[in-house]
Subunit: 181 residues, 2 copies
Amino acid sequence: MKKFEEKTINSKTIYDGKVVKLQVDDVRLPNGQQAKRELIKHPGAVSVIPITKDNKIVLVEQYRKPLEKSIIEIPAGKLEPGEVPEITAMRELEEETGYTTSHLTKVTSFYTSPGFANELMHIYLAKDLEKLTVPKALDEDEFVEVLEVTLEEAKKLVEEQRIHDAKTNYAILYLDTQELL
Amino acid sequence: MKKFEEKTINSKTIYDGKVVKLQVDDVRLPNGQQAKRELIKHPGAVSVIPITKDNKIVLVEQYRKPLEKSIIEIPAGKLEPGEVPEITAMRELEEETGYTTSHLTKVTSFYTSPGFANELMHIYLAKDLEKLTVPKALDEDEFVEVLEVTLEEAKKLVEEQRIHDAKTNYAILYLDTQELL
């Protein structure tokens, strides 16, 4: 789909970091005028909706530096270069929650902030969780606390804005429409 | 909530643009170690789920430079400094769709990408739409095409990934749970 395409006249990389790359492009608009676009390039991310055998949702609380507070989310992580999303999903599930599963079901995928970033978020459902006998290590700069909650408790956390992010709000609304719990 | 707080040791602004600011912070982790955090500061955004009197959802198609393609979304826009979200919502509804409404209902709000950005997205529902007699101008670098679709058509657009972003996927799922349409 190239409707209203903005052709790149000039592209400048301002910063190329561990997580994000910032690029500022000069573009030719459909009316022939020029404009500047600030673009965040991101490798994409994967999240998992983990459901225990007794129908609890497994969530993780962690500090989010951009918000300067901790919030409660479904487990998630960045895609490594060339990685298949299911592999990322399984790794993040195991590392962050200590559970594993025999299979993942794709729920949806969406761009989180298409106005300024190309981050694509893939969401999977993980049922029939089994506890890992040997826990996996988190990344060395990662600290999370695991919670297991009912759907009603999760909906209360949304109301209280302790759950307050796109993938997790979507996940709770999704579970509320399903006959899973 | 300051669980697992990451205290800022040093903060450096890399870029301060029209839409985003990029900041790289050195932080002290809960275990005493140091880490770097790449943070995108964003003014926040507002989107509207507009429902016509004949129960159609009003959507806009626009080119998204970060994705290098056009996608179909609910109308949305950035908060201006100090602006109340309802004002932004009404402005974006009027400018992008040519409709207005007598009242807006808050649906939810969520951080779009809490791992690297502080963008907070507010979502409103706008019913009882009235056509503006005098259309409002879009921003000079903005080009959109308006579509009016049924809920079934919107769900098909999600399947086809023509609708492919957090706020719009959430909006369609939300409408599917309501008795509105």
